[in-house]
């Protein structure tokens, strides 16, 4: 065992989670300025949405191109209820999540009757319909002007979420909850059903998995994640416009997901962090970031389709398999275990 092996082993232990959370909690104290905290909070909000995308696209294998639209639905429901109807933030927040689930269900039962390319194209159109409605339905959404003066989350007199740092912790809390829930889903029977569907519809159906019910469930979960993230986004940025529903956001999220590792547990977080800070450090790129991201997407799907986390897990699984094979062959030169790579792979998958 060399140092590299030890480090990679440490990444897989529960202690790593605690290290990550402690690092996140300490971040505002080491951050250079308030802007960095703000960027981090925003990255957490996006990461929540990307976790949602990971459920339908990564686990269940259906490329949902309306994800940015559902993010916008969450943001708009919160904004309309708080600004135009005087609801409290948290009630509107709950309503935003429910709206995301409700619209997700409606869109899901229609769109999930379609497969693969049809589904992707259909959801692209759904996303565009959401954008057009937000842009044109001025009585409801204020049209191209957008909605301003969205209240910050209500701190019940204890905390003031208009400040950046308290909001950072709020976003962190929701993010940790999202990851926890995603982990529970991934490791449950439900997550396994989703993965079976990703591998093959026919295979999953022959195992007795109800395709439609599982796909709709995955879709509703993902749109709920997206709209909750959208509602948090509205509470953080406090100004929203039709641009939130732009399909570019969906493409951004695909980039995050692909860089981090599609279908992995930590992938969405890693990808969002890497790309967010990369964009921040290359400020001049903000407007033209797609010149870099576009080819990046192409290079990633051709050469590293599993992303950072997926490649790491694959590398680790191969090493462990090699180590085990080496150990086995020392013990018993004749008898090689063909099952060991599979077993370690599965183990890696469980921790992922």
């Amino acid at each position: 065992m060399n140092a590299l092996q030890k480090i990679s082993d440490f990444f897989m232990t529960p202690a790593m989670k605690i290290v990550l959370i402690v690092a996140a909690v300490l971040f505002p104290f080491v951050a250079g300025n308030e802007y960095q905290i703000y960027v981090m909070a925003l990255a957490f909000v996006w990461a929540i949405a990307v976790y949602g995308m990971n459920i339908i696209t990564g686990l269940c294998g259906q490329l949902n191109l309306a994800h940015g639209g559902f993010f916008a639905i969450g943001a708009y429901v919160l904004a309309i209820l708080t600004v135009d109807h005087g609801w409290g933030f948290w009630w509107a927040f709950v309503a935003a999540g429910v709206a995301g689930a409700g619209f997700g269900f409606l869109a899901g039962i229609v769109s999930l009757r379609l497969k693969e390319h049809y589904f992707a194209i259909f959801t692209l159109c759904v996303g565009f319909i959401i954008y057009l409605l937000i842009d044109k339905w001025e009585e409801l959404t204020h049209g191209a002007l957008g909605i301003i003066n969205i209240p910050a989350p209500n701190g019940f007199g204890l905390v003031d979420f208009t400040e950046t740092t308290p909001f950072y912790y709020l976003a962190l809390t929701f993010m940790v909850l999202s990851v926890w829930l995603a982990a529970r889903i991934t490791n449950s029977l439900l997550g396994r059903s989703f993965r079976a569907i990703r591998i093959s519809d026919d295979l999953a159906a022959s195992l007795g998995i109800n395709l439609m019910r599982n796909k709709v469930l995955a879709f509703v979960l993902s749109t709920t994640y997206a709209s909750v993230a959208g509602a948090l986004y509205a509470g953080l940025v406090r100004f929203i416009g039709p641009a939130e529903a732009d399909v570019v956001h969906t493409f951004d999220m695909i980039t995050y997901l692909l860089v981090g590792g599609i279908g992995t547990l930590m992938g969405p977080l890693v990808g969002t962090m890497v790309i967010t800070w990369l964009t921040q450090s290359l400020q001049f790129l903000e407007e033209y970031r797609m010149i870099v991201f576009g080819p990046l997407l192409v290079v990633l799907v051709i050469f590293f389709p599993r992303g950072v986390v997926g490649s790491f897990l694959g590398w680790r699984a191969r090493r462990m398999a090699a180590a085990q094979d080496a150990g086995k062959s020392q013990e018993n030169a004749k008898k090689k275990s063909p099952t060991s790579p599979v077993a370690t792979n599965r183990e890696a998958g469980n921790h992922a």
Partner: protein, 305 residues
């Protein structure tokens, strides 16, 4: 889209005779439909061969419009020379995409093709925006006359669009049916393995198909741009409508793309005029949602998806 506003202005100028307005909308629908048909044809050809929904097709269309614009405005070339230059450059670009991106991904899961196509689209748009800015440009055309046929005002460019688009479709049809190279494309779309068995070179067919789709996009863009505007995101809406069309017409079906294009073109012209201009662009998508809710396989598809 600008053309509708133009046509409304043109028809109001003529006075409000109902039949006249109706005929104007027919002309409108025919113009829109023939452009949609051209773009959808390129998309459906590529889908038929590679089973890739080429999300970058709209970006190719946009690049085609810019190449024409530059050849005409900056180099002062003739409209037709610009169209040829644009067709050649976009064809080369499309072949490059096939070679560099889609060919290496041939064995990859389907989700990867789609993401790669989106990557190409984002890249092309960002490149054009960096080079030429996001502002709207108007492309000049030598055909600015207004024809007056039986009391209807018909801009010459619209006539050119309709004739040009349908002529190109006819040429394509002859190419696919009457030539050996055309038949290889049809053969591969019909049955991949069968095509390989009779010795058809998959690489050659794939490159050729991409080149044709590029030509169709570029010509469509050059025809349509003078009555529309040229800007980096001009392909967005069009590519989505083209997808709607090929789903309606059956993915991979050539007559389906033409018929579907006309259906959407007419639906938009009449819907935009008689229902609401604001929501004109939603009509295509609403139609798609409606049709797929009732019939998930599309209107004209037969067999499995």
């Amino acid at each position: 889209m600008q053309d509708h506003a133009n046509s409304v202005a043109a028809s109001q100028y003529r006075g409000g005779i109902a039949l006249d307005l109706f005929l104007q909308q027919v002309l409108n629908g025919l113009t829109l439909g023939s452009i949609y048909g051209l773009v959808a044809l390129g998309l459906t050809l590529v889908y038929g061969i590679l089973h890739v929904p080429n999300f970058a097709h709209g970006a190719l269309y946009m690049v085609g419009a810019y190449v024409s614009y530059i050849t005409m405005v900056d180099f002062g070339a003739n409209y037709w020379i610009a169209m040829i230059a644009s067709a050649i450059s976009v064809a080369v670009l499309a072949v490059l995409c096939e070679r560099l991106v889609f060919n290496p991904l041939r064995e990859a899961p389907p989700i990867h093709d789609k993401i790669a196509a989106i990557g190409i689209m984002l890249f092309l748009e960002a490149m054009v925006q960096m080079k030429f800015g996001a502002e709207f440009r108007r492309m000049p055309t030598p055909y600015t006359d207004i024809l007056d046929v039986a009391g209807m005002t018909i801009p010459a460019q619209r006539v050119l669009i309709i004739i040009g688009a349908f002529a190109l479709m006819a040429v394509l049809h002859l190419f696919l049916k009457k030539t050996m190279t055309g038949s290889t494309i049809v053969a591969m779309a019909q049955n991949r393995e069968g095509a390989f068995l009779v010795g058809i070179d998959a690489n050659r067919v794939a490159m050729m198909t991409f080149a044709i789709s590029g030509v169709l996009a570029a010509v469509g863009a050059t025809l349509f741009a003078p009555i529309n505007l040229v800007y980096p995101a001009m392909g967005h809406l069009l590519i989505m409508k083209a997808f709607v069309i090929i789903i309606l017409g059956g993915m991979g079906s050539i007559p389906g793309a033409i018929v579907g294009g006309l259906i959407i073109g007419f639906a938009e012209a009449f819907g935009g005029f008689y229902i609401s201009t604001d929501y004109k662009d939603i009509i295509a998508f609403a139609l798609l949602v409606l049709i797929l809710s009732v019939k998930p396989t599309g209107l004209f598809t037969k067999g499995v998806r």
